[in-house]
Amino acid sequence: MSYLIHIIIMINIYTILCSATNLLVGIAGMFSLGQAAFYGMGAYFVAVVLVKFNLNLFQIIPLVILFVGLIGFIIGSIIIRLEGDFFVLSTLGFQLIVYTILYNWYPVTNGSYGISSINLREVISNIKLQDIIGIRIIGCIFSFNLFVLIYKTYKIKIENIPFYNNSKIKYFIIFVKNLLVLLMSIMVIWYLVYIFTNDLFNNLFIYFTLSSILSLSTIMIISKLIHSPYGRVLKAMRDDPISCTSLGKNITFLKISVFTISASMMSIAGLILASYISYIDPTIFNLDESIYILSVLIIGGSGNIKGPIVGAIFMVLFPELLRLIGLPDSIAANLRMISYGVLLILTMNYFPQGIAGEFKFRG
């Protein structure tokens, strides 16, 4: 069971990462190769601050959002005037600067050795939630939200899914959907039973709750943003910046603000990762991670809310499927990367909107 929960925590982390990247790449149309830099900065900020000072969860979340958001604002206001390839290149440059700093600034980041023993558990016990009832109440609210989500999954119209006309695929999709609903409800009920029967200082469950709440709230914020006038202007800017300017929209403000919002959301994923794995080193946040996040987003699809979620679920479950086949570990990692590459090329060639997205990388 802990294996399953580990997978769900990873899915939550990648959902936050991909949704935040989607806001920048899919909604605002600013292709960035520097997303892992913000992810890493969030993780390192949390690690350094947690190891040095004794802060609790409610203090650290606003702090990390403010810190990374500020850096995102500064960087964004510098590089926002560039377009096309040069914008991509400057984000890539930023990524490498951050990586080099994380790798070489020994006094603060401990260089290539990384920072270990980051423990959010103490942080959680610092807030007066040791009171088991508090955690149970939060767990109840959370599982109620999950039930709403399951109900919405159950109500999804199959007609919207591609290849609907093929009857075999249709029944397969219906089967998969029902299976998913069943599994999710069993898990939520199990979770409810668990929090009422056991003592709750099992790390995994705290991180499960924390990461799920954070990722759900990130998705909710992004969905509010996308469907607000602000989000529609962003889409207009993506599709045609010049006519958007001619309608009197402030492009510079839009670009800087969306860059900042995306950066601060990436940092939350960093917070979860740093406290969950409790060890970070710079190689987690290198250029490959940026490329990986982008490819998850592109394969899942960008431009709407469900694309990044589908991408995150697919890309976290896919290697586990490969593991089920039983490949030796030395080959499996590389074969996995090769299959990502092939998927990326096929996606770009044949369905540029991804599995569930709506924005095609054209123009």
Binding site: F31, I78, I79, R81, L82, G84, D85, F86, V88, L89, S90, L92, G93, F94, L96, I97, Y99, T100, I101, Y103, N104, L287, I291, L294, S295, I298, I331, N334, L335, M337, I338, Y340, G341, V342, L343, L344, I345, M348, N349, P352, F361, R362, G363
Partner: protein, 295 residues
């Protein structure tokens, strides 16, 4: 003890020799980028993969060095051409945006790097060419390999200059570079010349990569840093003429030697990219600026 001035001169000499090799890469990438407009990240993998062919032929099959260099050159060009034919030309015929080509090139990069890791392994490898004498000139030390690097890269730059300046292919590539639409009006087959550009740029990447591999060896992750150096040098140099990447890499290597002298070599990348950001923001067209396509 060595005084500080000599240390700096030694660092400068080493960096300049390395920069002469990197400038080949930079020339190749700028030729490709300004002709096709595709930000081809797979160019880093062409650089990465070519010494492995040499390793295969020279060290494993033990074919004589010169023949194996020619064989691996042919294989490298074939790889570059097949990437072009399988991925970029179909996308270009579809009139896909340049972002799509770039994402596909990321895909190509992932595939090739992991294939190399699967076949040759993760660790760094060395080609033993038995050239290891070191010379001394006025207190400065440089090895025979560095001499080979310097001379070969200067020779290749001269050959490149002759091809671009005096042959008909070079003339037409320059025409496409200068004004794409006008060259289309005059009936130049841009797909055909794109193939020539791919061949020339992969030869440049191959030679740079072999020159580095005989000195410090190779590993599957070596492509990206060198590629980024090349790109930054290209942007610093600007698109004014075909040789501005050389000037760009000279400036960059000067800066890097200063940083190595003052702090340590770990911070080289950290100075490269602020310089890039500075140039992109203040002078995005580089030092030598003339208005060309794709800017």
């Amino acid at each position: 003890m060595l005084d500080k001035k000599m240390v700096f001169l030694q660092i400068l000499i080493n960096n300049l020799i390395l920069c002469s090799v990197y400038s080949l890469m930079s020339l190749g990438f700028s030729l490709y980028y300004y002709t096709t407009g595709v930000f081809n990240l797979a160019y880093a993998t062409i650089f990465m993969i070519s010494p492995y062919f040499l390793l295969l032929f020279f060290s494993i099959f033990s074919i004589p060095l010169y023949i194996s260099i020619i064989l691996s050159l042919i294989l490298t060009i074939l790889i570059a051409l097949s990437i072009e034919y399988l991925i970029y030309l179909p996308l270009m015929r579809k009139k896909a945006s340049l972002n799509i080509s770039m994402i596909s090139s990321i895909g190509v990069m992932i595939i090739l790097v992991n294939l190399v890791i699967l076949i040759f392994g993760n660790e760094s490898k060395i080609i033993d060419t038995r050239i290891s004498e070191s010379n001394e000139l006025g207190g400065l030390i440089f090895s025979d390999r560095q001499l080979i690097q310097l001379i070969t890269s200067i020779l290749i730059i001269i050959i490149y200059h002759i091809i671009i300046k005096y042959t008909q292919i070079g003339l037409r590539i320059r025409a496409i570079n200068f004004d794409y639409y006008l060259s289309q009006i005059f009936g130049l087959n841009s797909f055909k010349y794109q193939i020539y550009v791919v061949i020339i740029s992969s030869v440049l990447a191959f030679s740079a990569s072999i020159l580095i591999a005989i000195d410090v060896g190779m590993d599957p992750y070596v492509g990206m840093p060198v590629f980024l150096f090349a790109v930054v040098a290209m942007i610093i140099g600007g698109n004014g003429n075909f040789y501005s990447p050389i000037i760009g890499s000279l400036i960059l290597s000067l800066l890097q030697s200063l940083v190595t002298w003052k702090f340590s070599s770990n911070w080289q990348d950290a100075v490269t990219f602020p310089v890039l950001l500075l140039f992109l923001v203040l002078r995005p067209n580089g030092i030598f600026y003339s208005k060309l396509r794709g800017v």
